[in-house]
């Protein structure tokens, strides 16, 4: 899982090495060979999580205690170092040029919740947890493309040279990992991470290694792109996998869910790419243009309108949306840092009557159109009804005369 995460991200959402389905290119259908999904780790990446040492085997109690102390001290030192480095880095909130690509976040999908807008419409949101994200390493384009299968064109594309930024999420017990895996975190001065993901970043948006990434890296109202593995459905029939119609209920025996004809008589073969039953899901998919409607800063949780690929508990990569009209025009560059907090904070006002004091609530950011559960029920006025009613149908439709 870990390695596949890294590999698929370095190649980006439109990964060429993994293309295997029929893709319509300007009316032409071309077949791309290869496998749809790999369950084995990719061969060109160094092994990251292997030979898990059996903790406690052949170890005396004294050694165990010593090891625990060392790990504790190391984590403490690492976390303070990472905290310092994220304090020191210079960040600004400003315009983001069209050519720059910021780093993203490695998040976990923890569920889906309904939220309501001030108009009273229900929107189903995906809840994403940003779990202790840190920048692990930054590799220059000359360095990373040589050890990667995707080639030079990804590293030096039309937007300029792209650095590879590895982000780790979720602190984990270091005794579970190999020395080689732990070394990359020791270099950055951060605790050992459970999940890794990579992002292609332009030079003007490079964070520093060891820097902590916050959920406020994205803003409320911003559109994002989510990439992850879809739900693993296993072997599925044509109706579920491809949405085929199946066959009639009546006057049919034992063929209600079968796919039917698979080819012609002429050349007496099945064309490659024929839609058939097979393994469904567990593929890298990207969904773009999802809106962030709410951010819980205390719990580092992002509420995204709509659904993202994958099941609950799966790891995803969040990036800025690249669609022209949904692109991020201004925001924290290269990323959000605690030094921006003072700018964000509004002036303290006298607590009003009947308003819940801030100390009782989570520190949250809401989209202005989202209903807050602390506010009273939505009450519509006659003006709302008139707005929705449209033309008065009791009267004739008369064209407006230009004067």
């Amino acid at each position: 899982m870990l390695r596949s995460l890294v590999s698929s991200v370095t190649t980006g959402p439109t990964s060429e090495w993994a293309g295997r389905i029929l893709i319509a290119n300007s009316g032409l259908i071309s077949q791309q060979r290869g496998r749809r999904r790999t369950l084995t780790p990719v061969p060109w990446l160094p092994p990251v999580k292997e030979n898990i040492p059996k903790t406690g085997v052949g170890m005396s109690q004294g050694t165990k205690n010593l090891l625990e102390q060392v790990i504790e001290k190391e984590t403490l030192a690492n976390s303070t170092f990472a905290h310092q480095s994220s304090q020191e880095t210079s960040v600004t909130i400003g315009d983001i040029p069209e050519t720059s690509r910021r780093v993203g976040l490695v998040v976990r999908k923890i569920g889906m919740l309904p939220q309501w807008t001030n108009e009273g419409t229900r929107i189903l949101c995906t809840v994403l947890e940003v779990n202790e994200n840190h920048v692990v390493s930054i590799t220059s384009p000359e360095m990373w493309y040589k050890s990667s299968a995707v080639g030079k064109r990804k590293a030096f594309n039309r937007h300029g040279p792209m650095w590879r930024v590895t982000v780790g999420a979720g602190n984990d017990d270091p005794t579970k990992y190999t020395l080689a895996y732990r070394r990359q975190f020791a270099k950055a001065g951060i605790p050992t991470k459970e999940k890794l993901g990579c992002f292609l970043v332009t030079e003007d948006a490079l964070p520093t290694a060891g820097q902590a990434l916050d959920a406020r890296h994205f803003g409320v109202g911003q559109y994002i792109t989510a990439t992850g593995k879809t739900i693993d459905w296993g072997f599925q029939g044509g109706m579920h996998r491809w949405g085929m119609r199946g066959q009639p209920t009546r006057r049919t025996t034992k063929s209600h869910r079968r796919i039917g004809s698979v080819g012609s008589v002429g050349d007496a073969r099945i064309w490659p790419g024929k839609r058939m039953p097979g393994h469904m899901g567990y593929e890298w998919r990207t969904v773009s243009g999802l809106e962030i409607v709410r951010i819980n800063v205390d719990k580092q949780v992002i509420y995204v309108k709509g659904s993202v690929p994958g099941d609950i508990g799966e790891t995803l990569l969040l990036k800025d949306c690249l669609q022209e009209e949904k692109r991020l025009k201004s925001g924290p560059m290269p990323t959000w840092a605690p030094s921006l907090e003072t700018i964000d904070e509004e002036q303290e006002t006298e607590p009003e009557e009947g308003v819940v004091p801030k100390s009782l609530l989570f520190n949250e950011k809401f989209s202005p159109k989202l209903f807050r559960f602390t506010s009273p029920s939505i009450v519509f006025t006659d003006a709302d009804a008139k707005k929705t009613a449209g033309r008065d149908k009791t009267k004739a439709k008369i064209a407006k005369v230009k004067k």
Binding site: I110, G111, L113, P114, Q115, W116, E119, G120, R122, V127, E129, N296, K299, V301, D311, I312, G313, G354, V356, P357, L360, F362, F371, F373, T374, S375, P376, S377, I378, V379, F380, T381, D382, A383, D384, A385, K386, T388, A389
Partner: protein, 288 residues
Amino acid sequence: MFRPAAREVVRIPSRFFSCKSEPVRAATSKKQATKEEIAGLIPAFPEIYPDFLQSPVWNRRNALKEELERQDMLERRMNIDIPEFYVGSIVAVTSSDKNLGSKDHRFVGICIRREKEGLLHQFTLRNTIENIGVEVLYDLYNPTIKKIETLKLEKRLDSDLGYLVDALPEYSTFDFHMEPQAHPAGTPIPVNELKVKLKNPPWTRRWEISSCRGIEDTWTQATPWYKRKLHKTLVNDYEKYDLIANYRTSSTKEHEIYVQAQMQKFEKERHAAGLTRRRILKSAASYK
């Protein structure tokens, strides 16, 4: 070798449940319930607050997500009084609709279903209006709901009254101008042991093989076609013997106690801040 039966000692295993045939044990279990009540906990919590339970799908249980959604639910409950009601209670819901403008929309009906957990919780009201059965599905936490009233607090024999669709219309006809009937605090919730009469088939479901207790004599009304088919039908009547099924889908006692403690804490904080005096965690049956 012969052993006299009289020497065998019959050991009754200690149990937590009780039945009417064992009044001694029933009495001891009652003692336990009072212990819970001292701590302010409600014994019938899963019935009164089905929206605060865990999801039956284990994949969807996440402590952080539950905490966040519970916060939203409690905030909403501070702004609107959501009364206690059960499947079988008669409920009135006043909601505002954009197309109605400042006018209110009030619907009265019998609650036939309560489903889903958390912010997704829904309940369905059923009534007959101009001889047409109407069912309205409400989201409990929809902010356009202005007011929820329980006009008559009672339970029925089943936890899903879906069979009212096929029952005679008088069983789901309720007056919109019905006077609310007060429930004396501290008394147990009455169970209406009404058995409904179904219309003639065709039915939406095969009620004669369902285990609904609130239907009167479905077998005589069922069509000969389905009676003949019964021996071919797969009836899952063994499910009541599946002891682990309940464990798989229901939330644990520990979770219930934890949630109640959280609700009490939330109430206390809000009361201390002087915002409201509304109580969220309450039960009509165990009122002090």
